[in-house]
């Protein structure tokens, strides 16, 4: 007699990736025969990543769950999620096992609790995999990264900057990149640069590089990003105007950013973070690719900078419970915002719409698919970017941040 366990968020290779968001899984007996039921305990078996289990959808799961499984082999549902702040480092370091009343093993599944982490918290293996995936995507200038870079050009500024759609657009952009990376290595999640705190380990020649006096970024020989090429020009130009052993100066603090929305938690006020800390984070590197909207995506650091901004938005959403588009404070009103900025608008370039109020081209094609979920689809709407963990029954986009929980 065994226990079969099926968990959504499993790819075609049989690998399961969870975040903090509960997913409904199921278990059943196989080879039991007869009638009646067998009590089976499902329990967390992870060595690094850990899961919590529950009979209902909740953020208050436990490390074990007793299930009464029919001998007929009928499926019995349960809920499983990653334990907040216990993410994986490698695939297989998280899992569950099913045991009978005597403790005998009846079945198991290994998995990965895969979330976006502070870049300086990645261990050597995680860092190596992230950098290798990024380098492969770049393909020394000839890979799919060309399209990712092309989407964030000055010509298309109105689609993504200076307006209320700034945050959902960039959330979709990061998701697109991350899925491209995961198509290369599914264990990779996009890390973030927590720019309000010192991150000296990030600016080293074994990680995101060290700048010389001309602003040229150098890596150790053989580093995956050593051949980084964009727009047919080799290398990265990055000139920090701060000591990289410290944080950039003058940025709005995280606490003040979170409080931008006021005590009422209004998105229309929170969006001011676009100027500070966002704008200041970019302009902490004068004369660098990352300084200007038109060239920023040429530097890989740009994606880690924006991952932190997205994390700050996610944190604010959690602090004020602003996931539900039906709540007027979760987003901005339709008027007077232009097309592409309103809740029910699709977003360029993924919608492929050109001309009229949209740009004349739409590089990159539809949003990258995921083997784990069909959400948000190839042409995402603004509203689909809000409830990214499915707290308010929106589409779970299968990403999360290490310090932003799922919280019903």
């Amino acid at each position: 007699m065994n226990v079969a366990i099926e968990i959504p968020r499993t790819d075609s290779a049989g690998r399961t990736y969870l975040t903090w968001a509960p997913v409904q899984a199921k278990a059943r007996l196989t080879g039991a025969g007869g009638s009646g039921r067998v009590d089976v305990t499902l329990r967390d078996s992870g060595a690094v990543g850990h899961v919590q289990l529950a009979a209902i959808r909740t953020h208050r799961g436990a490390s074990s769950l007793l299930l009464s499984l029919p001998r007929s082999g009928a499926w019995v549902p349960f809920w499983i999620a990653g334990v907040f702040q216990s993410p994986s480092r490698n695939y297989g370091d998280a899992g569950i096992e099913a045991v009978d009343a005597g403790g005998a093993a009846l079945g198991s599944r290994t998995m990965m609790i895969r979330v976006r982490k502070n870049a300086i918290d990645l261990d050597a293996g995680e860092r190596a995999r992230f950098l290798a995936a990024l380098a492969t995507l770049n393909g020394a200038g000839l890979g799919r990264f060309k399209d990712v870079r092309a989407m964030h050009a000055r010509l298309f500024d109105a689609e993504m900057h200076g307006n209320v759609g700034f945050l959902p657009w960039h959330r979709a952009y990061l998701l697109d990149l991350e899925r491209e990376l995961q198509a290369i290595d599914p264990s990779v999640a996009l890390p973030y640069w927590r720019f309000n705190e010192p991150a000296p380990a990030l600016f080293t020649d074994t990680y995101l590089g060290v700048s010389d006096s001309n602003g040229r970024v150098h890596f150790v020989a053989g580093h995956p990003l050593g051949n980084w090429t964009t727009d047919n020009v080799v290398g990265i130009i990055r000139k920090p105007d701060f000591d990289t052993n410290e944080a950039p100066w003058g940025l709005r603090t995280e606490a003040d950013t979170i409080k931008l929305g006021g005590t009422g938690g209004a998105y229309s006020k929170f969006i001011a973070m676009q100027g500070d800390p966002h704008g200041y984070a970019h302009t902490s590197f004068p004369g660098s690719s990352i300084y200007d909207t038109g060239t920023a995506a040429k530097d890989p650091l740009f994606f880690l900078l924006h991952a932190n901004l997205d994390r700050l938005w996610a944190y604010w959403q959690w602090a004020y419970k602003r996931w539900d588009p039906a709540n007027e404070n979760s987003y901005a009103p339709a008027s007077p915002n232009r097309i592409g900025q309103r809740l029910d608008d699709s977003m360029w370039p993924w919608n492929g719409i050109t001309g009229g109020d949209r740009p004349t081209t739409a590089p990159g094609g539809p949003l990258a698919a995921s083997p784990l979920t069909s959400a948000p689809g190839p042409s995402p709407l603004v509203r689909q970017m809000l409830d990214y963990q499915g707290v308010a029954n929106g589409p779970d986009l299968c990403f999360a941040y290490d310090d932003v929980p799922f919280d019903i």
Partner: protein
């Protein structure tokens, strides 16, 4: 971590951080030359400007060669941040650009460089002309040759290869490095890159940049040269690591990554080389070629 407890801690932290003064190091750094009312004005001024008065005031400070240098730098930083407001900055864009063009010829070298950097990132034609003129006028440079070439490289549609090739013989090593990077956009540089890459008498830096350039302009020539270099124990290990890394991550080198003889050779290198960087590059190559693959772990039912 209990999520409910985490929420409670978050609420306490936000309340405490908002009440506490900012970290002294950061505050003292950017208020070093500012005291009292000027410090407070600077802090206020560093909030993204939304009013025309704020922006025009910053532009005036930026343009004024007699203004405090720190104030001019901060004005430029604030204008740069305001630029991220996208269409909302549009009404000020022309005045901002005109100010930058003026500062590109400022008496102060640092301000010239900073203005040219911003303009070059925006692919400003006026700035490009100044940079070309600077390169062509030894002794009358606006900024260093290395910086000028680097900034011209931001122009994705420009063709500066003939100019750089003409000047390369008189450039210092930093400018040569920038020149080689820029020439990676020029298919006509393939022969030069291949020659430099294969020349063991060249410096490591030049050979590495040539490898990267050849990779862009003539991938098949790069792949052939890279395989020879990797296999040659008499070659520079850092160069071998650099080209091996490129072979690992480029899509069109799939044939090399499927070549069992080459994979075996890289396997030997991974085992025997004393160079840590080369060993790591070899491991990455073997992984990318599928020589070190892991499968899923699923058991039960």
């Amino acid at each position: 971590m209990n999520v409910d407890e985490y929420r409670r801690q978050m609420e306490e932290r936000l309340a405490a951080e908002s009440a506490a003064p900012r970290e002294p190091g950061i505050v003292s750094r950017f208020l070093t030359s500012w005291t009292g009312a000027r410090g407070r004005a600077t802090r206020k001024a560093l909030d993204p400007a939304t009013s025309a008065g704020d922006i025009d005031g910053l532009i005036a400070t930026l343009r004024d060669p007699l203004a405090d240098q720190d104030a001019r730098r901060k004005a430029l930083a604030r204008l740069g941040a305001a630029r991220f407001m996208g269409p909302r900055f549009a009404p000020y864009q022309d005045r901002y650009r005109d100010a930058l063009r003026e500062v590109a010829r400022d008496p102060n070298e640092e301000m010239r460089r900073r203005a040219l950097e911003v303009l070059a990132l925006e692919e400003d034609a006026f700035a490009r002309d100044l940079l070309v003129q600077s390169l062509a006028s030894p002794g009358q440079e606006l900024i260093s040759d290395a910086q000028a070439i680097q900034l011209l490289g931001h122009d994705a549609h420009g063709d500066y290869a003939p100019l750089v090739r003409e000047l390369i013989g008189r450039l210092d090593k930093d400018a040569v490095a920038e020149g080689l990077r820029l020439l990676a956009s020029d298919p006509g540089s393939a022969e030069m890159f291949e020659g430099l890459l294969r020349d063991k008498n060249e410096t490591r830096s030049v050979r590495k940049l040539s490898a990267k350039g050849l990779r862009v302009v003539k991938p098949e020539a790069f792949e052939a040269a890279a395989r020879e270099i990797v296999a040659d124990d008499g070659e520079d290990d850092d160069l071998r690591a650099t080209v091996l890394s490129a072979l690992s991550h480029a899509g069109e080198t799939a044939a090399t990554r499927a070549d069992s003889d080459f994979i075996a050779r890289v396997g030997e290198i991974a085992e025997k080389t004393p160079s840590e960087n080369l060993r790591e590059a070899a491991r990455q190559f073997l992984k990318s070629s599928g020589a070190a693959e892991e499968g899923p772990v699923v058991s039960g039912g």
